[in-house]
């Protein structure tokens, strides 16, 4: 670990980072690692979409295990579940539900774009498809948020 840090601090390490940051072409050639997801300098829509997919994906994996943990409350019987329901209907948790829907829509629709273009089913119109699907997602998100906050009994 310390050996690698020393290597990165040498002039050649800095030059390598500067070289990959300024390189033309697919995002993966520019990215020295996950820290590059948050580096928005001289990046286009493709990099933003790539980073959004990675970050929302990690969030959804975290939620998968959180969801399994929450559902485990059901094993504790009706009293345990009802106790959880009281917490789950507070405004804070409803807000987190909306955040979950955002993650699902952003990751799902962006992933659909990647799958359609990558498999050759649609022409390579990355930017147009990204903005179209994200607009559709924003409409669904607004509908879902209204539903979450108004359907609560």
């Amino acid at each position: 670990m310390s050996e690698r840090r020393t290597e990165d601090q040498t002039p050649s390490g800095v030059e390598e980072i500067l070289r990959v940051r300024s390189a033309e072409g697919p995002v993966e050639r520019k990215s020295p690692g996950p820290t590059a997801w948050f580096d928005v300098r001289r990046r286009g829509t493709g990099h933003f979409a790539f980073s959004l997919n990675r970050i929302t994906g990690l969030g959804l994996v975290f939620y998968l295990y959180l969801h399994l943990a929450v559902l485990s409350q059901l094993l504790g019987g009706e009293a345990a579940w009802n106790g959880f329901l009281e917490t789950a209907t507070t405004p804070l948790f409803l807000g987190l539900d909306v955040l979950l829907v955002f993650g699902l829509l952003a990751h799902g629709l962006n992933g659909l774009r990647v799958a359609l273009i990558g498999s050759g089913f649609v022409p390579n119109r990355q930017k147009a498809l990204f903005y179209t699907l994200m607009t559709f997602g924003a409409i669904l998100l607004i509908y879902s948020a209204i539903h979450v906050f108004t359907a609560e009994g």
């Binding site: 996950p34 994996v61 059901l74 094993l75 799902g108 359907a151």
Partner: protein, 129 residues
């Protein structure tokens, strides 16, 4: 712009895509359908209870054979997709081949444990209905 490399096993003209990429895309598309069913059935249909089911609602719901099968498929597909996604993220760290193998095996193990626990959860709840 450089043309995409060709997979020697693929028909002429098909872009080079690894087996991992194909599985990620396939499970991802399946999840669009399964997540929609899951979210609508759980949170949008039951207006009377504010989109959240009571304990008995959950038991009755999961005991339905059709729902049981759909939820089981959902569990398997989402776990495969999640593990493949985690694998891609971890590989972004520039791991050696040996570490890549270790990560792959570890994620297979984590996936198996996740699916097993999910099946136990679904099975126990269905049996209580």
């Amino acid at each position: 712009m450089q043309a995409p490399a060709q997979d020697p096993r693929a028909p002429t003209g098909e872009p080079n895509r690894s087996r991992t990429w194909r599985w990620t895309a396939l499970t991802g598309v399946a999840l669009l359908l399964l997540v929609t069913i899951h979210m609508v059935a759980h949170h949008f249909v039951v207006e009377a209870v504010g989109g959240l089911r009571t304990y008995q609602h959950v038991l009755d719901y999961i005991a339905n054979p059709v729902i049981f099968v759909i939820e089981s498929i959902f569990l398997v597909v989402i776990t495969i997709h999640a593990m493949l996604g985690l694998r891609s993220v971890l590989f972004d760290f520039g791991l050696s081949d040996r570490h890549k193998q270790l990560v792959s095996k570890g994620l297979v193990g984590l996936g198996v444990v996740t699916v097993a626990y999910g099946f136990v959860l679904i099975g126990v709840l269905a049996s209580r209905a």
